[in-house]
Symmetry: C2
């Protein structure tokens, strides 16, 4: 029996929180001690889901080695997204659905990644393989993770497995997917509780394209009107970050999760490459991204190509 | 449907060959095209197993990108152990039981690693999970892989899962584990067909210990007499390699697979660290390693500790 802390990435989203809770429960079935923890404040979508299904929010930690020798990672593997002292603990498990990058271990481990819409989808498969029942409250969290990562099955990252497993989890959790999904996504899209900084940078990631640093944020909303009334304030945060981080461009993708459409905001000295990437016109730092919902599949690849031309 | 080449590491051993064959078969059940190939000549143990179970030896390749865009790796993940042009192809699957080191992908993939005795053990679990039957000839190869990597369940890397799954594979392949195991290990331990270079360097790996380069070879034999009659020739190969590769030490672990005992040979300017590591006396480049069968678990750790003292 080993004592594990189980956690997802920094700036926790619903998949990270739900998967940590589900995998900690899984490890307990395997005879281990395990506690799900978070690497940052839990707000918006995941907070709503925890409340809805009556699950106690995971404790927030800054470091792991002061508490345990062994950890399990969910929904991430890259060291810079993990706990600050990740090099001081032994990683025995990784359950993830991202690319593998900069991840190294001195010893063999259990590593399970699949190119599916959410980590929770992989965890559902593992529960079935090992013959463990999923409690209703955890099923509700896992369903929320799938809805969140696939934007209610509208993101191109969605697979048939995600849809099939979401149906099964909804039965266990006794919720109706269309109505709960809407309620849940609305909770995450509530702008009134978010600062300009949170909207712009809360889920932003850095990318290197042809030796240039590009930062791309994404925020989920319902209806563009409210957020565009804050446009000048958002652009100011983006320009300040760009100077501070010495970036070529800062792009913010504003995604209407019900309409499956996005609008982009951009700041930078030369934004022509953005016009080329998305075959669009930028007017007053703003451009349309019709049908775009996935940063990973629909924003990063065309922008990377345009920078390499 | 994708067209895959499936391969294990360079200097192929039984687990690498058997797992490539088994996973290529698995991918075909999933509706893909897949061919198992090898990254070097197939001799000794794996050649014996292929012949015994009537399986066609995999074709040997030097590069992959000239044939396919997508590959599946088994029994390894480190790029330097893989095909030379691994950076020119997309890795969609990894099935492995080693540490993860230097492995990076630009996109999400299927990665399945477990700390079990062989890759074939993990593949057996996957066949069951997906509900695919294992043909008798492939079961024979997978059984051989488990016997090889666990030295007939005597290596400390052996888990209960390896034993349990070996029994199931033996039933499908219709062989008796004790008698086939002995016959198979003897075939791999036949020194008469191996050059001094093959014995010393055929399975050797480099390790960095306290900034010094150490190369450790391992060879499986039955009875020490025959190999020790070639000791001076083996030491000459080791010393030549040491000079050529600028190594601090060259260690050869000679393992009697039936007695589960080893003898070490060593060349180097200062071999005192080896005496300290194994609490032994070196006489004429030779020392005893009683009860040692695993380089990974019983040779590398004490030597690393001794170098760091």
């Amino acid at each position: 029996m080993t004592n594990y802390l189980v956690f997802g990435h920094k700036k926790p989203d619903t998949d990270t929180i739900a998967s940590a809770i589900a995998f900690a429960y899984f490890l307990k079935q395997e005879g281990h001690q395990a506690e799900a923890v978070a690497l940052g404040e839990i707000t918006g979508e995941p907070a709503f889901a925890l409340d809805k299904f009556g699950v106690k929010p995971p404790r927030i930690i800054q470091t792991a080695a002061n508490e345990v020798s062994n950890v399990a990672l969910v929904d991430h593997n890259e060291p810079q997204q993990s706990v600050d002292d990740i090099d001081q603990v032994q990683i025995d498990y990784v359950i993830d659905h991202h690319r593998i990058s900069g991840f190294n271990t001195p010893q063999p481990l259990y590593y399970r990644a699949e190119p599916l819409g959410s980590t929770a989808t992989i965890l559902y498969k593992m529960f079935k393989e090992y013959g463990y029942e999923i409690p209703a409250d955890i099923a509700g969290m896992m369903l929320s993770a799938i809805i969140s990562d696939t934007l209610l099955f509208k993101s191109p990252t969605t697979t048939e497995k995600d849809k099939e497993i979401a149906e099964k989890l909804a039965k266990i959790a006794e919720v109706d997917i269309p109505s709960y999904g809407l309620e849940f996504l609305k909770a995450g899209a509530d702008l009134s509780k978010q600062s300009d900084e949170e909207i712009v940078d809360g889920d932003a990631k850095n990318f290197v394209m042809n030796d240039k640093s590009i930062r791309i944020g994404q925020t989920n909303i319902i209806g563009f009107e409210e957020i565009l009334s804050r446009k000048n304030d958002l652009l100011k945060v983006m320009e300040d970050k760009r100077q501070e981080m010495n970036l070529e461009l800062y792009v913010l993708v504003i995604t209407d999760v019900l309409e499956s459409d996005s609008i982009g905001l951009v700041v930078g000295d030369d934004v022509k490459v953005v016009e080329a990437a998305f075959n669009t016109k930028i007017e007053n730092h703003q451009f349309d991204l019709p049908g775009v919902v996935s940063r990973k599949k629909q924003v990063v690849p065309p922008l990377t190509s345009a920078f390499n031309k």
